[in-house]
Subunit: 409 residues, 4 copies
Amino acid sequence: MKTPHKLTIINDPIYGFITIPKGLIFDLIQHNYFQRLRRISQMGMSYLVYPGAHHTRFHHAIGCLHIMQKALEKLEQKGVSVSADEKEAAMAAILLHDIGHGPFSHAMENSIVENINHEQIGLLFIEKLNQEFNGSLTLAIKIFKGSYHRPFLHQLVSGQLDMDRTDYLKRDSFYTGMAEGNINTDRILAMLNVKENHLMVEEKGIYTIEKFLVARRLMYWQVYLHKTSLVAEQVLVRVLKRAKELTHKGIDLPASKPLSFFLKKTNAEGVFDDHALEVFAQLDDYDVISAMKSWCDHDDFVLRKLSQIIINRKLPRIKIKKKPFASDFITEQKDAVKRQMNLTDAEAEYFVFTGTITNQAYTLKKEAINILTKKGKVVDVISASDQLSLKALSKVITKNYICYPKHLF
Amino acid sequence: MKTPHKLTIINDPIYGFITIPKGLIFDLIQHNYFQRLRRISQMGMSYLVYPGAHHTRFHHAIGCLHIMQKALEKLEQKGVSVSADEKEAAMAAILLHDIGHGPFSHAMENSIVENINHEQIGLLFIEKLNQEFNGSLTLAIKIFKGSYHRPFLHQLVSGQLDMDRTDYLKRDSFYTGMAEGNINTDRILAMLNVKENHLMVEEKGIYTIEKFLVARRLMYWQVYLHKTSLVAEQVLVRVLKRAKELTHKGIDLPASKPLSFFLKKTNAEGVFDDHALEVFAQLDDYDVISAMKSWCDHDDFVLRKLSQIIINRKLPRIKIKKKPFASDFITEQKDAVKRQMNLTDAEAEYFVFTGTITNQAYTLKKEAINILTKKGKVVDVISASDQLSLKALSKVITKNYICYPKHLF
Amino acid sequence: MKTPHKLTIINDPIYGFITIPKGLIFDLIQHNYFQRLRRISQMGMSYLVYPGAHHTRFHHAIGCLHIMQKALEKLEQKGVSVSADEKEAAMAAILLHDIGHGPFSHAMENSIVENINHEQIGLLFIEKLNQEFNGSLTLAIKIFKGSYHRPFLHQLVSGQLDMDRTDYLKRDSFYTGMAEGNINTDRILAMLNVKENHLMVEEKGIYTIEKFLVARRLMYWQVYLHKTSLVAEQVLVRVLKRAKELTHKGIDLPASKPLSFFLKKTNAEGVFDDHALEVFAQLDDYDVISAMKSWCDHDDFVLRKLSQIIINRKLPRIKIKKKPFASDFITEQKDAVKRQMNLTDAEAEYFVFTGTITNQAYTLKKEAINILTKKGKVVDVISASDQLSLKALSKVITKNYICYPKHLF
Amino acid sequence: MKTPHKLTIINDPIYGFITIPKGLIFDLIQHNYFQRLRRISQMGMSYLVYPGAHHTRFHHAIGCLHIMQKALEKLEQKGVSVSADEKEAAMAAILLHDIGHGPFSHAMENSIVENINHEQIGLLFIEKLNQEFNGSLTLAIKIFKGSYHRPFLHQLVSGQLDMDRTDYLKRDSFYTGMAEGNINTDRILAMLNVKENHLMVEEKGIYTIEKFLVARRLMYWQVYLHKTSLVAEQVLVRVLKRAKELTHKGIDLPASKPLSFFLKKTNAEGVFDDHALEVFAQLDDYDVISAMKSWCDHDDFVLRKLSQIIINRKLPRIKIKKKPFASDFITEQKDAVKRQMNLTDAEAEYFVFTGTITNQAYTLKKEAINILTKKGKVVDVISASDQLSLKALSKVITKNYICYPKHLF
């Protein structure tokens, strides 16, 4: 099949024109596995709060590809040698870094697709593609796994200052309209360097990094962990759990073939065969939302109500505070629900539930963001900073939440 | 039900904060009919060309509401009296102006939902809502229909310089990244005035209007009529037609309840009863895309291939030119398809087809955009302009296209 | 002198980072002739209307340099060969294209610096620099003059779609806040191509060009020819004329050395010697504004009043219309001024005067903007356009103005 | 004099349209004292690093006026009553808050205008205007001084989160192109509230405040204290000191009348009479730059060299580090300069000098930024924050610098 000329430039509201290199990268994008990401929203249920947040994992992956290209160009201008093969492999690795995501990934991993996460599924996909593409992805896989001897390539794909984060913070900020999360990608890229094959940030970029971390923290509290998105996601987890529960009781639910497959399947640890992968490749947001739409008039009270909550956006109340909620208060809410809706204990827990959220802008446990000083020394960004603020950003913050119905159904 | 405080401010990437007035407007937004617009994409298949173009009719309607508020504020500052009732009615009218749209509206109106268009369905919805809201929408309906005695309110909802166009040009330009379609909303609003109850543009705004019309034309050629979107939409029309054809032959296709209803239904002129409306209210992008996903392995060759074309983005070739294509060329393409895929004449027409597209930035037939001169005279924007360019923009441009497979399946 | 590393990247609010190539380009920027452009405003008196319009010719020249680099990169990606020498020469040519501008250039050319224009002075500067830089600018001069055998390089420097216009439209739009003048530089650059050594725009870029021309026309009417800037500039012309008149009568005015020189000098056709050039190199906005400040309490009524008009922004009334003003009306205004201020006929003409302004977005007389069709044909943008609008933009529009005092002094 | 209609809307690249209220505010803007701010750059010598940074104190003041209007509107929407008089007074106070600035204010206060600072001069101007405007500014003066009984009005004019900072951070970030300093003005304004007449930030705005403080710190280190601006400003201080020194020795330097006045004047503590104020009102950037231009060929070596350094942008080397520079190193540099340029000790200190810079994003000593919790409690932003980072931002950071010639003259 000849490569059509048209697709090689993509219009992006954030970066302007994105040029897609012909060959492997172009062919990967054309593949059904990758095209499927067009049907998977990047931000899950967030559009219920931020109506603009309908961008997809496809778009994010293309954005990552673009800034990876730019980053490698910048590094080459600074004298870091990167071979043509390494370049293509790094681009393939970032392009495919999210290929394992399913619809509403975090919700799904906590409900119907068990004992395997999106990184693991991603690797299965990449290995499958590697077979199809006759081993062209072997180097990309090494970089992806971090086993290649030049770690900076892996760090660009996955680290505390990788191209993934750099794109999604900017993109999510753009589409939600939460301008405060905007980061200066050009400047971040301009500050990168490599020393002894490790990724570095030049000293003069330290405030840029600080701004990046503050923006990240802000996006977590105000967007990713926004209480309305949170409650919607938690309800979604419970819709899917209930659906699985009913399915396993032998009740046949309307659902697409791929979704039915995963509602029926019990995934043992480490078991995700080729067939499961192929079915997973058929699964996207449309299966999940369509199923919930049809469940809005199902006989089962719990499934029906939970589905309506999301489809018609009639969300429960959610409260968040630093300390855990008193058990008395929780019991009281559950009792009210049980009484008013005539539910069992187990059923009531679908409507009244608690949990915690945590946020940490910078992790001391993972590989550090390294600062390369003017004199050529390497120091962790925290000790390089002239103030305590970065240290503060590495503190884990935990909050508690409770959800319960706003009013009777 | 008590109005939750949270929803009253919405974050919009384009206008920043949008404030939702409590009462009727807020309650309309909460209604399932309106929430459904969250699941209907504003730009149909355009995301296959512009990956950012996933914004919804919900978001557009909220944007229109916002600039209607701004426009009315500006007019009041200029001494145009607008009563509280008129304000609410104008806002309701613009909020609901697209409520009758179904999924991939233009495609659907040319395939499975016949003899009625989205404006007519919209009016049915609004009248139904008017019953539910005890007549609160009576004035909005008058404004919507243009029967209210102050025409400028209708002109703000539907005219050659209405809030609908003002929002969608800006919004579609933003989400596609086609920066050239961006228009200066603030300036347009600042230039509006009213004379004898008709909407006017102040003389100094004439270049702003010209820019608006040029942007509109550009968006049509480069975005709305982009050849790749066009071919995708035309294939979609044919998927749905084929599905209806098969259904009417008695073949049962996997589809959601609402979609099945419309595949089975033959809509006679003027017949769209309450039940049809309720089912239509369940129909959105998720029904259509999900159905096509499941049809990708259907027995019928035509349905299967057309569905795959869209889902996997393997689009046919499309050519566009000023003159019609030679019938020899068309026949040649059809013959090739028939031969290679072993199809009948009728089936081949699903894969090889021609059509025309037209574009006109400004219509002389409709009500003019009126310019109010400094001396208080009213003139059509075309005669007010110092150059011929606006006149030129009112010329209808027609182009011909042909679609046929790029390569064998 | 060693090139300091720091200066090689410049922060630009419009393009982000601008990289300055080391060597000739860097050294030209360091030269006093070029640094002087930091003290010459790009938009003259426009800041009296648009308070943000204080950007300089220095900044514009740097911006031009940047997009010239980008344009050449794009062309090379399309297979147009450009040698390293040609690249440097094209960059030098665009960098220096405005080097001959004095302060408030248009006003000055109509008052104290006669019989020579900024292009001619520019060439004198460039030839002088060529001596200093040992002939390194010889190719740049050829390109500048249009005598090099590859015309597209000259067309990028000076044509109807050159890098000069591309930068100044965008920059002036940005700094004035007149968002409607914004143009899509990235897209313009992406659409350029070269055929037989002539600059072309690819066919799909035709709407981009149309938008560019409409933006240009709009900027002329709403910004460059804004009536308040116009009146301020016309008063400035008259301040300088009066100052020259008084100087030639033997009256010594406070003024900087370079300004005094030009107030005294009578420039014969074709005579602008080396000394004049050196003095001109000392002249900038600061000489002119400072002089007017000191003239605000001069004995001469005309000089004093005109200076105050600008410094304190107490501008005369200006009226603009299509037809010339009636001579009765003009005489009436002059008589009033003569009577009320006790002036002679000649003096009154400093306060009451008429003139014309013209605007033409695209000129048929100059070299056309050529469109390269998909089939490889070359056509003028006007015949390539599907509508009459571009033709309309090539019409010359003329308007008349009159200025006279708003009120008594 | 009748208010011309034209001036009442100003185009601002940042906020779009700014509407100027007629009456007192409009008349203040028309006054020569205020128009003078058009000739005073907001960022002094920063344009030598950021070529776009030519915006003026006039523009900043107009921007402050705009957001003060917006802030008061927001507060009123939240039920805070603000009378028409208070509104006008608050707007007048913010409009005039910088009226006392001279050219290159910080440099001037450290050289020729001694024993009085721009706040004190500002108050003198405002009191003078109050006489001219028959006491209309009495309430504005109270608000300005902080003696009005509703402190939030003063806090909006001058505090750790005032409209001054809110505008200048955004504006300086915009014009320098240092996008990272951009702050979300809309969101800051939306988060303001008033409790018991004190300005508060609502709890949900806490990350916005954190972002504001981080942006402020970043702007200090990367822009306001940028080493190249710093060295230019320090040289400017020394040019003016040298000029004053020579003047007091009886050497007559070319300079405008107002500048000569201040070169001659010795300002005793608390003595700044009406005449001095009138002369000060004549002084702006044009006097200082013009003088330096003329001093570029003065007989005095020190004055000449220092002036050339700035005018031709041939800046000395500057080094910055945490610890003070060794006295040996300083002496060595001075000795080299003395020897090579044949200077006295005192003269050498004009070319080799050291100093310190400090930066603190948030001050514990001043009135706190107060957070109003959902439950109605008031807490300092530092204790409200969930992390240590804000505390860290209140630490004072001090750095040392040394400047000395890059190379021989």
